[in-house]
Symmetry: C2
């Protein structure tokens, strides 16, 4: 019998936590036992895993005794407080918050790209931001093919990237509209129904949002290209699930559209949907619920030398968060790191 | 008494035609008489102008006798057939279709930018594509300040850019969703509710859409910069009215964020909404119904020298179409060209 593991999911009531639970079952993750944690508010409520009811516990200092793998998606504050305790108790933590991502001794991993970095872990491995993951997936094969020189990324991000409250906000605003009532935002800064909001996370002095700065820093760290010039614009759109990113990428050596298409297609976790004649290109409603990221609209950028435009879409709850987290754990098991 | 004109609106039942009618009244355009035309299908129906009922006529070869100014927004086919007849009958045609835009002897005009080009008209003046207008409005002051070197434009386009059918499609899809019914697109290639579609107009061999190629060619013609490198991505989003464009612009000489802000603010028809601390930036739901275009998120692009990122939003039925058309006519009157 192959080895199984005691697993904890922290933040199980969130959008990413719920997807994590679904994927642990879907992928037959080698679970020996599963503990599910959330805030005090959800303690005592139940979730179902493989047909079995599990009672949600409030996370606390002693929650991680005997846990081998702790999958955190409860936000940075909870991660800062409890991830070190989980490590102390002997668990490996896969953290989906931004708390530790830029710490030099914490690997920031997309397994298809830099799984090798897992070897250097000190107990915590960070999962990148959802937009960073979806953007970096096609960048890696392009980087390998022609060495990236500059990247301009412009996003169309789904409300579930902001968690269950984001989903609820879009839903209730749309129902209000359908009922002829006034639209009142409850979660986002502004109405998201029939709108786009060029503001995700908080603003810094330089005019960029946290989401935009994360994209720059995380793409650099994942690709191990610390100086790569990246220019980001991140925007919320009224889509439930799956982030889309319009990418403009310049390379040191020319990569033709055909070469890029082949490189994308050969890359694990990436698929090419690019058949304009058949109106075939990736879109959120078709990518929602899928594990892979999808690339289309691949075309030469005639405005400069050695540049391509393309469009990538990924389910940010899956590959952008929960799936990538589980893939990190699977990769660590395969590498004998857990 | 100042001069008044016999005006015809061709395509009065469309989204742009309806807005044209509204704006002629709103702006007290010097109308002596108004004729309203549409296809045979709408003939006999009525529209209201300044409290008066007008009967819609089917456009035909003899529709333009005695007309001074004909405002066309009935699509390229109708423009190709009837605009030359209107000119022959003595009218000046302001055409909002793409039919004549790239013809060398047809001025393509945004009055704030290149009204002087009107002097060369031979009877037809073209109004640029809605996305081109909203994009070029902030580009002009930036071009004047530092000479544009390269532009990357990524759009978030409202459904009313596709006319009344686009509006109806989003509405009925959203109502179906609210009623728990299946969503079936009637106008767009795919579902637009809760989705984004990276496809506007038809695809060419090079992988770009007609909308994208229009943006490149029209921005160059309006700015009189025939070689300006422009890299476009155009995307439909579930917004009713107002297009948003994320613009990355490189200039020959450095333009600071402060200089750009001042240049934008001083430019007629352009306003700066850029106060991150107050969550203030342009968005479609706030710009809908406004005449000006609004710029925000102005920030230095740290990925290359002399580049800025910014975000511009404009009501594409107003400044992007109907308003710009009427402004062309007003400018021609002022210049003594009509």
């Amino acid at each position: 019998m192959s080895k199984t593991y005691n697993v904890a999911v922290v933040g199980v009531t969130g959008a990413v936590g719920q997807t994590t639970l679904k994927l642990l079952a879907e992928r037959n993750f080698p679970v020996a036992s599963l503990k599910v944690f959330a805030s005090q508010r959800s303690a005592g409520k139940k979730v179902t895993f493989r047909g079995e009811e599990l009672i949600i516990e409030a996370v606390g200092p002693d929650s991680f005794e005997g846990i081998d793998i702790a999958l955190f998606s409860a936000g940075s504050e909870q991660s800062r407080e409890y991830a070190p305790r989980a490590v102390k108790a002997g668990a490996v933590v896969v953290d989906k918050s931004s708390a530790f991502r830029m710490e030099p001794d914490v690997p920031l991993v997309v397994p298809e790209i830099n799984g090798a970095a897992l070897a250097g872990h000190k107990g915590i491995v960070s999962c990148p931001n959802c937009t960073s993951i979806v953007t970096v997936m096609p960048l890696k094969p392009l980087h390998d093919a022609g060495t990236l020189r500059r990247v301009i990324a412009t996003s169309y991000q789904a409300v579930s990237g902001a968690g269950v409250n984001g989903i609820a906000d879009l839903e209730q605003e749309m129902r209000a509209w359908a009922n002829g009532e006034a639209i009142k935002p409850t979660h986002f800064q502004h109405q998201i129904a029939f709108n786009v909001i060029p503001h995700i996370d908080s603003f810094a002095e330089d005019g960029y949002t946290g989401e935009e700065t994360k994209l720059v820093n995380e793409v650099r760290k994942i690709l191990d290209a610390p100086e790569l010039p990246v220019s980001p614009t991140t925007v919320r759109v009224p889509v439930f699930t799956a982030h889309s990113i319009a990418v403009n990428a310049e390379t040191e050596t020319k990569v033709s559209v055909e070469q890029a298409r082949r490189a994308f297609d050969a890359f694990p976790g990436l698929k090419v949907w690019d058949d304009p004649a058949q109106n075939r290109y990736p879109m959120p409603v078709e990518v929602e619920g899928k594990d892979d990221c999808y690339v289309g609209r691949i075309r030469e950028d005639f405005s400069t030398a050695n540049a391509l435009n393309f469009w990538v879409v990924g389910d940010q709850l899956r590959k952008g968060a929960a799936l990538n987290g589980i893939q990190i754990a699977e990769d660590m098991i395969k590498r004998g790191l857990i």
